[in-house]
Symmetry: C2
Subunit: 319 residues, 2 copies
């Protein structure tokens, strides 16, 4: 069965109205979609419009048109996921990370939704292969994993399960890219998809360097944010090393610099995740942040993210 | 012996006039110093002023005052390192990465330079402990490792050797920070200092994901540059996860998210560095870059770096 044409997507269902669901909702609203959100908790339903509205000034700064009020006129919040998916052309599922719960929700949504609609799950820890087992149309389920905060970070990782059709994965990549996200295709289900694995690899050594007394928490952080982190906002690790190879590019890098790289690999460490390291990291971060609260830091990160996104790519291109 | 007061540093000697030496020279000139550079190769000496001048428009974009011509009036290039260090208040050594060569140069510079002057080496692969063995005043030698390109990237890693005094390491950190760099203190000599180890840890998994068919070179790159890379330009890995812990910060992160992290660690891979991977990486990068040459990519990176540095911190603060 062929899938809905991209240009016919008008309404998006967002399952779960917490932080991630609200952030996704705000982003879909900024793309002009009608958003039908659901959450079984009445407290969450009461809070959701406020969470969406709170994202709006940031989306405006990235080029979204209209006011938060105009956007919220296209937003509705429902108790049941089955109400939310009524008339939906795409579903973004953000339920808690419990397999049985997701299996049940996805089967019910699957039964209610025309078979030409794709369903994406925000899961970071579960596999589409496991989530799709109870579906009549498992071929339309993909993992569509965002990066926090979803309304600002362009990356979406698309991963299919064993029963997912290539067509559905391609559709999801094309859908997100058509609206300014940068969707990538993960070709095999592996724990952590791609970006979380890469983050985990980096943090493993970052924690080890603190534990083994090589540098303070703050200095390890600065070693990234004042160094390679600035380059990684522009180019990924392979392209960075292609440049690191000079005029010979990646081939030169591979032949001449991989030996040094391997010496470093051999010396990388594995931290012992004990109470002492916990204390070291908590103390170090506390010292690093000074009197900035988590809310201050989040606001600072988001403001700088928007500034960086705007200088890297004109706002007009991202809205 | 106490070291020269920071405010009395007027003249900097830069040993080596290649890409790194010229980039350092341009940065020191932008801070208002007189720069005495040396290179034993006459071709390198002929090329050096042009390399310095090529950095100038970028430094101007970051707030450096005056023209390239005015800056070059404070720049001189010499055949011998002993000529370059005459009257120098700080020395930045960028000779080829050969231990015996560096030992000889550093001993000779040490003998010629008043003992209250600090000497920094740009080495990425050698230890201060090994380089300082022939010096009469080994206590003033530090590694002062920049990040490419040195005139743009703020990070400088300061590492002392066994005989380096704490005072010299502190002096170097204070010196660079006083002039707009972000210098960090590496407390123990380890291969790759800090940033290169972290880069190596990330690239190890990035190469593994390509080799094991999880994603294309380009998609692995986008997984960073459109995701965590954008955040790492703002905050390092520890601070990022402090935010990832929500209102509970690093303590919550440690207690609740480290288990998932450890699952990912257990699944991280080690690529086999064979000819097939070389080909896969070269082909993947070739496809990713399209018709952009290395020079195009470097210009693109530098332009975006300058834009990011300017939005993260007003130009006035960095000049």
């Amino acid at each position: 069965m062929s899938l809905l044409d991209l240009e016919n997507v008008k309404t998006v269902a967002v399952i779960g109205g917490g932080t991630i669901g609200a952030s996704w909702s705000a982003w879909f609203l900024a793309q002009g979609f009608t958003v039908r959100c659901s959450d079984p908790s009445s407290a969450a339903r009461d809070a959701a419009p406020g969470l969406v509205a709170a994202c709006w000034p940031q989306l405006s700064a990235l080029g979204a048109s209209g006011s938060a009020q105009e956007a919220l006129a296209r937003f509705s919040i429902w108790e049941s996921h089955l109400q939310a998916v009524e008339g939906a052309d795409y579903v973004q599922e953000n339920a808690p990370e419990r397999l049985e719960l997701k299996q049940r929700l996805l089967s019910e949504i699957d039964a209610a939704l025309p078979a030409d609609r794709v369903i994406g799950s925000s899961t970071s820890g579960l596999k589409a292969s496991d989530m799709q087992t109870g579906m009549t149309h498992p071929e339309r389920l993909v993992v569509a994993h965002p990066f926090n905060p979803p309304h600002l970070i362009p990356l979406v990782e698309i991963v299919g399960g064993k029963q997912t059709s290539e067509e559905a994965a391609d559709w999801a990549v094309a859908f997100f890219n058509a609206h300014g996200k940068r969707a990538i295709q993960v070709r095999r289900e592996v724990p952590g998809h791609i970006a979380n694995r890469l983050q985990a690899a980096l943090w493993k050594e970052a924690a080890y360097l603190v534990q083994s007394g090589v540098a303070s928490v703050e200095d390890v952080d600065l070693a990234i944010s004042e160094g390679p982190g600035l380059r990684w906002a522009i180019m990924g690790p392979h392209l960075t090393f292609h440049l690191g190879g000079g005029t010979g590019g990646m081939a030169h890098f591979y032949d001449h610099l991989v030996p040094a790289m391997q010496t470093w690999w051999a010396d990388l460490g594995t931290p012992t995740m004990d109470a002492a390291l916990r204390e070291q990291l908590v103390d170090g971060v506390t010292q690093e942040v000074g009197d900035r609260s988590i809310a201050d830091l989040a606001a600072e990160r988001d403001r700088k993210l928007i500034d960086i996104l705007n200088v890297l790519s004109p706002a007009a291109k991202r809205s």
